[in-house]
């Protein structure tokens, strides 16, 4: 951009230029013109219908009245205070990470705008608004903090480590916060909260288990390799819902009769299944990454005297994982939506809660509003994950090619 402006005046968007662009790209031929007109007509009609529905014909009181149910299910009101610190922590770490690694880009604007719209649409009044406001302020402050430390290399390095440690602690701290000191039994977790907890544990567990599985499958030791391969192929041979049903009805008979393990809550069993299921797919994705590495990388590491573990940890894995970020994230997005399958365990996650709301006598015939809301939430989270992966890819891609 800078070099361009040195050689010629900054081009202005004029009507003439816009006209040329339109003619060249939208009306270059008879067929192109027809396609343009039809496409625009369809877009306009769909857009108009959606906007009319959302703003005029829809009655959002069904969502408003069931806000609690949709967001946290049967989480007891008296224990709600446990959620807010966890939410704040997530927002603060997220804000700091965003500030530290990814200075605000215009392409992130739609996601942020949608997120804020979401927040204001549902938490605009009362204590909830105040508490969410605290979170937004925390996130903004953390973002500015992240921007500030990013300017100095040494501070940025320390901050990076702190943010990563904090990020890794988010999930365990949240679980402890929910359950500690006669807290909320997992069976009472519900709504969006349950989807988020299930997906987070599924992703964290699936990744932590999947990477070693991939390495095991690539191992030269037959026992390890065959065990890993058997596990992966077995898990992938069954649909997730079947494994969830097995976890509900069969797993209890196979658990060792040791203290708390013997009677695992149904939610803990669902988490186990989601993590184990995701691990098998992550393992295959990561194996693809391992195979894509030229053999010379390993040889160079060995020739320098690095041990087998160091070679894997410092040379092979970082490159293999970077190569498969898109496939990994798409696996995680798919897991995020698969969390709805726990309805098979009669758990009240967001979609189950939506159905419960629809079934209420006073909201008969309001399926569209509730399902649109649930769909919007799933889409928003998926979009965020996808944007996040693009960001990570780009910042890790520095210097490649």
């Amino acid at each position: 951009m800078t070099t361009q402006s040195l050689t010629r005046p900054v081009a202005r968007l004029t009507f003439a230029r816009a006209g040329r662009w339109v003619r060249k790209n939208l009306f270059s031929s008879w067929l192109n013109s027809l396609l343009t007109v039809v496409t625009f007509a369809v877009i306009a009609w769909v857009g108009f219908s959606v906007i009319r529905f959302v703003l005029v014909s829809a009655d959002w009181t069904v969502v408003e009245a069931n806000r609690r149910l949709l967001f946290i299910g049967r989480f007891p009101k008296a224990e709600e205070w446990r959620i807010w610190p966890a939410l704040w922590a997530v927002m603060a770490v997220g804000g700091a990470a965003y500030g530290r690694w990814a200075p605000f880009a215009r392409r992130d604007l739609p996601v942020i705008a949608l997120g804020l719209l979401f927040v204001f649409a549902f938490f605009a009044e009362g204590t909830a608004a105040l508490l969410v406001g605290v979170g937004v302020l925390l996130a903004a402050a953390a973002y500015l903090g992240g921007r500030f430390v990013a300017r100095d290399e040494r501070r940025a390095a320390v901050a990076s480590r702190l943010i990563l440690i904090a990020g890794a602690l988010l999930l365990p701290v949240t679980v402890v916060l929910f359950t500690v000191a006669s807290g909320v039994r997992t069976t009472l977790w519900g709504g969006l909260l349950l989807n988020i907890m299930l997906a987070s544990i599924g992703i964290a567990g699936g990744f932590a288990l999947g990477v070693p599985l991939a390495l095991a499958r690539a191992s030269t030791m037959p026992v390890i390799r065959v065990t890993a391969t058997t596990y992966i192929e077995l898990v992938r041979a069954g649909p997730l819902i079947a494994w969830l049903f097995l976890a509900r009805f069969v797993l209890p008979d196979f658990l060792p009769p040791i203290g708390p393990i013997a009677d695992l809550h149904i939610v803990a069993r669902a988490m186990l299944v989601l993590a184990g299921f995701t691990a098998a797919y992550v393992a295959e994705v990561v194996r693809g990454g391992l195979q894509s590495l030229p053999h010379g990388q390993e040889e160079a590491a060995q020739a320098l005297g690095l041990s087998g573990f160091q070679t894997t940890w410092l040379i092979v894995l970082p490159q293999a994982l970077r190569a498969v970020i898109p496939a990994l994230v798409s696996q995680f997005i798919s897991l995020w939506k698969d969390t709805t399958l726990v309805f098979g365990l009669s758990l009240l996650e967001l979609l189950g809660a939506s159905e419960a709301a629809i079934a209420q006598q006073r909201f008969i015939g309001r399926q569209a509003e509730v399902l649109l809301f649930a769909g919007f939430v799933f889409w928003l989270v998926s979009l965020t994950m996808s944007r996040l992966s693009q960001r990570i890819e780009r910042s890790l891609g520095v210097g490649e090619r």
Partner: protein
Amino acid sequence: MAGANESASSYPEPSPTGRPMIVTENVTKWFGDFQALKGITTSIAEGEVVVVLGPSGSGKSTFIRTLNRLEPHDGGRIVIDGVELNDDLRNLEHIRSEVGMVFQSFNLFPHLTVERNITLAPQKVRHLPRAEARALADELLVRVGIPEQADKFPGQLSGGQQQRVAIARALAMRPKIMLFDEPTSALDPEMIKEVLDVMRELAASGMTMIVVSHEMGFAREVAHRLIFFDEGLLVEEGTPEQFFEHPREDRTKLFLSQIL
């Protein structure tokens, strides 16, 4: 690297001390049914520069890859600086940190900066403190003539620069022996010289070097001894003069007639 551009004859020729650095006895190597090495016996002295020649598939690359056990040999003995290369892992790790290797395709780590490529092994294997490792990297980058590239990633450098970083990376382990496996074969012609210059300087500093290469000018000028491989056998060895002017074996004569 100042001075490396001058011809090698301006250096005092470092004479090998005679202390054997590498001794191989009847080394054999099989790939399935194919015998790549059919009993290689030779000895390379400290400070000696040996250029290994031969047609492709002659076993020359396999031979130098057995010297740091990237290819485990199937028979015979290899002794590096008094330590035998065998299944003993401690020997292997010791030898690998004493023997530097430079590959045809550079094999730099693309996800690490140039500096990190160089400091990684000294820090992780030699347990050098980070500041010392960095100082060492800076010093080596000056030595190979690219001091300003430390913070770049390998993908941002030219082929010649990458190969010089690879040499610096190997030197960072302070090896007693350097192996070069066709170090200039993947380079564009105009970049070959910058890499050979670094190697000349290294040879002049007294490093024990084994170089698989087709660079006849380099071989003639820098090598103390040439070794000629064909079909898994060490066919002939001698000084550059003997080798180029008075080859004894027919296969050597044929090879020289094809490449000169």
